[in-house]
């Protein structure tokens, strides 16, 4: 079930009413309802893969107890079994065909012809997200940061809670499970905040991202026939499309969770106002980058064992992060490019320069230095997005080559109006809204008087209604 569908507009109020008015007598009833609703939500997309979700949930629930064993050897053994199981599921459904084809190509280089069996099965939606949920739970228990949960329903709600089930944010057991286990009461302010997030998220997805999708698709699918400047516009438009799409999804997820009394982790903090790549990664898909930091980078030694290991570990997490997004070389290249952008900051010890503050913290506008830093970071990130959007490495390199060749042959085009300038109509409200809100991603109150604020909300509502119904899936559903 998509957030941007009528089914969800019907599903959400029904579950909300049942949750607060019918099942509100006992916490276990509420959690039971959330679980049933979550499975229904998932099953609406495909009942076939429900079994896989349940199996994965049951497996990690059981591993939780085994990993908690005081016998550390036994605990470690089960930890590895859990990792193998989870990565095994991911490997079969997401990566098997990729590796099979790579082996085939490798053997062909050696002059050996092989004919591997390829799986003709769709990627189960949300598989990368719920397996990472389960893994974080087992890791936390192994480290002693979390106790195994007795109640299976509570654990299943943690893994399958419908707002975050298919595209995150990737929650931590230590953050979400206590909320599942604690009685929840309706809070007006929290619910209103939730509605604001849903409204803004829906606007970002339905109005901005889906409109940009048409422009981006037409440019990328015919890149051979476009001039260089139009291709640059296409890449910029994709930067905002994916941001509107994914951050829109995350906002709706956070907002929906608030309606049920849950607080989820933030996933985005205005990443395009970052002043360097390191800051970008503290602001983009935060739940995933922090997951890799906590469960991969730090266990590998992080940056504490000398420069060589820090560089190695940096490249590992960026490459793995790229591979997590898809079993294709262009995603790995995307991760590699980001690692290369991160490397100078790491070597110069400047990677933690902008940890807590936000650009133009106490000012209305950025200064020239900040503007330059934001622009160069955005240009770098946009360049990397070309690899992310492309259908393979050949495509990405062809796209970049076409930009270079076209501008080199006809430099005058830089001064002319590029094609697809309509994309800027959609980008402008996103940038302006984000700039206004940049100090707190959850506090979506525009500091204007009540009447203007109402007018603003209704304008957003009208825009959403006018653009609703395309039922375009979210980009991150494919991961």
């Amino acid at each position: 079930m998509l957030f941007n569908s009528f089914e969800f507009l019907l599903f959400l109020p029904i579950v909300f009413i049942l949750y607060w008015f019918v099942f509100n007598k006992k916490l276990s009833w509420q959690n039971g309802l959330v679980l049933v609703a979550s499975y229904f939500f998932y099953g609406w997309w495909s009942w076939k893969f429900m079994g896989l979700l349940m199996l994965s949930t049951a497996m990690d629930y059981a591993y939780g107890f085994w990993v908690a064993s005081p016998n550390r050897k036994k605990a470690k053994l089960f930890l590895w079994l859990s990792i193998i199981n989870n990565l095994g599921i991911l490997g079969i459904f997401k990566y098997y065909n990729f590796f099979a084809v790579q082996f085939q190509k490798g053997f062909e280089l050696l002059g050996l012809h092989t004919n591997p069996v390829l799986l003709q099965v769709a990627l189960p939606i949300g598989i990368s997200f719920y397996t990472f949920h389960g893994m974080s739970y087992v890791f936390d228990i192994y480290r002693g940061n979390q106790k195994p949960v007795r109640n299976f329903v509570d654990y299943a709600v943690f893994v399958s809670f419908f707002p975050l089930l298919v595209a995150g944010p990737i929650e931590r057991a230590s953050h979400l499970l206590p909320q599942v286990q604690k009685p929840r009461s309706f809070k007006y302010a929290q619910a209103v905040e939730g509605c604001r997030l849903i409204l803004w998220g829906m606007f970002k997805k339905v109005v901005i991202a889906d409109s940009l999708a048409g422009i981006v698709d037409s440019i990328f699918s015919n890149y051979h026939d476009q001039n260089g400047v139009t291709l640059i516009v296409g890449a910029i438009a994709f930067s905002f499309q994916i941001y509107g799409d994914f951050s829109g999804y995350s906002d709706i997820a956070l907002g929906t969770a608030k309606l049920f009394g849950f607080e989820l982790l933030s996933n985005f903090k205005f990443p395009y106002f970052s002043r360097d790549v390191a800051e970008f990664w503290r602001r983009w898909h935060i739940s995933l980058s922090s997951w890799f930091r906590d469960y991969l980078y730090i266990p590998l030694g992080g940056s504490k064992n000398g420069k060589y290991k820090a560089i190695r570990n940096t490249f590992i997490i960026f490459l793995v992060s790229g591979f997590w997004h898809g079993a294709s070389w262009n995603f790995i290249a995307w991760g590699f490019i980001h690692a290369c952008g991160f490397l100078p900051l790491l070597l110069l010890n400047r990677n933690r320069k902008h940890v807590t503050d936000v650009v133009a913290q106490d000012r209305k506008l950025p200064n020239l230095k900040e503007l330059w830093q934001m622009s160069t970071t955005f240009a770098f990130v946009t360049f990397a997005w070309i690899f992310f959007r492309a259908d393979g490495m050949h495509f990405a390199l062809g796209y970049i080559k076409q930009i270079g060749v076209s501008i080199f042959e006809h430099p005058g085009q830089i001064l002319m109006l590029p094609g697809s300038t309509t994309s800027f109509i959609y980008i402008a409200p996103l940038l302006l809204g984000d700039w206004y809100l940049r100090r707190d991603e959850r506090n979506l109150i525009f500091p204007i008087n009540k009447q203007l604020r109402l007018l603003f909300y209704f304008t957003i509502l009208v825009c959403i209604m006018a653009f609703f119904g395309a039922k375009n899936s979210f980009i991150y559903f494919q991961f």
Binding site: F6, W20, Y188, V192, L461, A466, F467, F468, G469
Partner: protein, 305 residues
């Protein structure tokens, strides 16, 4: 909780009201919708000729002129309509009305339309959502007719749009744009039209219902006109007459300053010329009607324009 729910209900009611108001405004001010509602009310009508097509036919076929000269006719064309939509309209009409003598299906090859698209084409929203309702198509009217928001804006801000009228199904507007294009070498390719499944379906349906059908390729801007055909040759499409009117000879009738409303779209002056000089002869010949053009009728019509 009650405070929260009451706010949500207020928002829902407002959202619903906005959509209802939008439909209401459309039905009173939007030309497509007015015409659609008008044509849905037809019962027991008997026309000599029914005109179908897209915006080129909507703007460019002066059915009032045909009516005043003895050929009862109605222009069913809708801007942006495809052939599948035209077929739905014809079927709807035949349910409650008598067979026409002739169906005129207007083509727009000057805009590059060769109807080669998929066999099952999307029905135009104006026709689809005023015909029947299916749960799978549930959506906000604001979204279904989104492009109409801009059209309503044009009506609000442009005098030409405000003064435009729908007469016998034709969109009559005084708006003028200049055809600044110049002649190019263009070839009319009937083979591309012969490949079209949707055109074939439309033709087959008419033949099944024993209704005579003719195809008229609408005139366009200078740069689109064909130089490889003449009007005197006989052209056939699926066994029916095809009249390619986007020729240099027919195009010479039009004044590049005054006869166009948009790219290759005739305004009411251009439509009048086209209907008087070319179309009337074609339709009357195919309807087996004797031309009844009188000086008076022309003067009356010019006066009404």
């Amino acid at each position: 909780m009650s405070r929260f729910l009451s706010k949500i209900i207020i928002y829902l009611i407002t959202a619903l009201s906005i959509n209802i108001a939008f439909i209401f405004i459309l039905s009173y001010f939007d030309h497509d919708m007015i015409k659609r509602i008008e044509s849905l009310k037809f019962t027991n009508k008997k026309y000599n000729a029914l005109v179908f097509g897209n915006s080129l036919a909507l703007d460019g076929i002066d059915t009032k002129y045909l009516n005043e000269n003895g050929i009862s006719s109605y222009n069913f064309a809708i801007s942006g309509a495809n052939i599948a939509t035209n077929l739905v309209q014809l079927k709807e009409y035949l349910k409650n009305n008598e067979k026409p003598d002739l169906v005129v299906l207007c083509l727009s090859t000057c805009l590059g339309s060769y109807y080669e698209g998929p066999e099952i084409e999307e029905i135009h929203p104006i026709v689809k959502y005023t015909r029947s309702f299916e749960v799978k198509d549930l959506n906000f009217p604001l979204s279904i007719f989104r492009w109409k928001i801009l059209e309503l804006g044009k009506i609000l801000f442009s005098k030409n749009h405000r003064n435009a009228k729908v007469v016998e199904g034709q969109y009559k507007s005084e708006k003028k744009i200049i055809d600044i294009s110049s002649f190019k070498r263009n070839s009319f390719n009937i083979e591309l039209l012969e490949k079209s499944q949707s055109l074939r379906s439309f033709s087959n349906y008419c033949q099944k219902k024993e209704i005579k059908i003719i195809f008229i390729d609408m005139p366009g801007f200078k740069s689109t006109r064909y130089d490889n055909i003449s009007n005197d040759e006989e052209h056939k499409l699926f066994g029916n007459h095809l009249y390619p009117c986007n020729t240099i000879k027919i195009g010479n009738v039009f004044d590049s300053q005054n006869d166009w409303i948009a790219n290759s779209h005739l305004n009411k002056y251009g439509a009048y010329k086209f209907s008087k000089i070319t179309l009337f002869k074609i339709v009357s010949m195919n309807c087996s009607k004797e031309p009844k053009i009188t000086t008076k009728s022309i003067q009356t019509h010019q006066g009404s324009n």
